[in-house]
């Protein structure tokens, strides 16, 4: 190659590099957008992240999953710079964020947008005991069998955990099967956990340590560990969100809308059940949980480092959830929107 040809080749390469540099965004140039979603939103948010960044290459969405309460605490108790918070229980945002950031200061936020809904199902595999017999009509009899092992996440840590207890207590009432809660869950504890009926409310008082005394019940910190246990045959059935069961390719039983916490029509009935957690894990929220429909909500904290980009992302999320997608929580119905604001 002559010297002039080599010069032209180098020049050409330089031009290509320069053009490429002008069309892409380096990590330093991109605006980091810190988004904290609840665990059951991680799967859809990972897809949304890719789609959003494709449209907005100048923004780097950084997801950090937490339980819903922990997600909010990143902003409030821990004072971290977070741009977007999305939780699996809409009521948590007004409860924990409609409070001043400091004395004489504005609230952490004054708004939230409900954007999706979910329901509790009974997830299982083809190897689960009773898998060939269980139906939406007899599921509770299958789960009550002594040899059948049932799992749910820790109510202290995960909203799906206390919702599992609510569903089982509502099932005892709905099917008029006294003792059903104890047969499926409560009897595995020493002393047994028994729902108390008083003034029309069903109350479940939990011990400080959620440790079952028998193998009938397994409790783990989060859903993913239950799925692993289900896969390994350590449990036969798990209380899960419908979207999570679908995402992981599990079998599941749909529960009646009267008890699945997924129907606006039955919101008043859900409100009959209350779970008192064994201790107050956080000073910023009490230890009482009341049954209500499962609605996801999103907000931008007032002290978000990038409020404009955060608002764009929120609008993108709301739009994305208008469409039904496999493994995602369902689009929010007008009825559910009405009961959640």
């Amino acid at each position: 190659m002559s010297r002039s040809a080599a010069f032209l080749a180098v020049l050409g390469l330089l031009i290509i590099f320069a053009a490429a540099a002008g069309c892409t965004w380096s990590d330093q140039e991109r605006t980091p957008l810190k988004v904290v979603p609840a665990g059951s939103l991680l799967y859809p948010f990972e897809q949304i992240e890719a789609e959003f960044e494709n449209q907005h290459p100048e923004i780097d969405v950084q997801l950090e999953g937490h339980g819903s309460i922990q997600a909010i605490r990143q902003v409030t108790d821990l004072r971290r710079p977070i741009d977007v918070v999305a939780v699996a229980d809409a009521s948590l945002i007004p409860d924990m964020m409609f409070i001043p950031m400091g004395e004489g200061e504005e609230n952490y936020t004054d708004w939230y947008t409900p954007f999706a809904e979910n329901e509790i199902v009974i997830a299982y595999t083809g190897r689960s005991r009773g898998a060939d017999e269980i139906t939406p009509e007899n599921w509770y009899r299958t789960l009550a069998r002594p040899e059948v092992r049932v799992g749910f996440s820790n109510p202290m840590l995960d909203s799906c955990g206390y919702r599992a207890l609510m569903v089982t207590a509502l099932a005892e009432d709905h099917y008029n099967e006294p003792g059903l809660f104890e047969e499926i869950i409560g009897g595995a504890f020493d002393p047994p956990i028994r729902p108390q009926l008083q003034d029309g409310m069903i109350t479940i008082n939990l011990p400080e340590r959620m440790r079952p005394a028998t193998d009938k019940v397994a409790i783990r910190d989060g859903s993913i560990y239950l799925l692993s246990l289900l896969d390994a045959g350590g449990i036969d059935y798990a209380f899960e969100y419908r979207s999570v069961a679908e995402e992981h390719g599990l079998h599941w039983i749909d529960l009646p809308p009267e008890i699945n916490l997924g129907s606006a029509e039955h919101a008043d009935y859900y409100g009959k059940v209350r779970v008192n957690l064994g201790f107050q894990r956080f000073q910023s929220i009490g230890s009482e949980r009341i049954g209500q429909p499962i609605v996801y909500a999103i907000t931008v904290p007032r002290n978000a480092p990038h409020p404009e980009e955060a608002q764009m992302f929120v609008e993108f999320v709301i739009e994305a959830f208008r469409e039904e997608r496999a493994g995602w929580p369902d689009p929010l119905s007008p009825e559910m929107r009405a009961v959640s604001v």
Binding site: G39, L42, E64, G65, H66, G67, Q70, R73, D77, L78, S153, N154, M156, L157, D158, E208, R209, R211, R220, D221, G222, I224, Y225, S228, L229, A232, G234, G278, F279, Q280, R281, F282, Q283, S284
Partner: protein, 190 residues
């Protein structure tokens, strides 16, 4: 001579660099723990004892690997932690009976409750790298103050954090008991 003069600049640069490195490495008497405001740990049991960070550092120490996972599957670690056994601290206020509960809390408002077996590192769930549950190897629950040979950073729960340690770096434990910024440990008799 010109060559000698030329060499003087690199030599000076090396000296300045060494000085800067020494400053950065804390060779001039400042340690990272000095960055913390005074930190006390309150132990409540049959009696109440308040320990300073220095007093805790003077106690018998243990070391091991800590590797935690969050409720949604985010892994933190493995790191090498050093600290004091939780049982040693509790023995200072009367120990833990088999039905007692131990409340560990922090100024950010977080609290976790351990039973007697868990305080000893028993009946905790453990996972492999793929987050599949494995039989629990020997574990110890410590109040850690060092991580990888350095004082525990604030973002990692320093100056004092509850940590579950094992002998090998491949054992993952549930992160919920890893209370950050611990300032109070209370035994409640039952």
């Amino acid at each position: 001579m010109i060559p000698v003069r030329r060499r003087a600049y690199p030599a000076l640069l090396i000296l300045v660099s060494i000085g800067l490195l020494a400053l950065a490495a804390g060779c001039l008497g400042t340690t990272e723990t000095d960055d913390y405001p005074p930190w006390n740990l309150t132990l409540l049991g049959d009696t109440e004892i308040v320990l300073s960070l220095d007093e805790i550092r003077e106690m018998d120490a243990v070391e091991g690997y800590g590797y935690a996972v969050s409720t949604v599957g985010i892994r933190y670690g493995p790191n090498r932690y050093r600290g004091v056994l939780l049982t040693d601290l509790l023995d200072m206020v009367g120990g833990v009976g088999k039905d007692d509960l131990v409340y560990v809390s922090a100024p950010d408002g977080y609290m976790w409750v351990f039973d007697a077996a868990q305080v000893r590192g028993e009946e905790l769930f453990t996972f492999d790298e793929n987050l599949h549950e494995i039989p629990s190897p020997p574990l110890q629950v410590i109040l850690a103050y060092d991580c990888d040979g350095k004082p525990l950073a604030h973002d990692n729960g320093g100056p004092l954090r509850l940590v579950v340690i094992s002998e090998t770096p491949d054992v993952i434990t549930e992160g919920s008991p890893w209370v950050k910024w611990v300032d109070k440990i209370e035994v409640r008799r039952r």
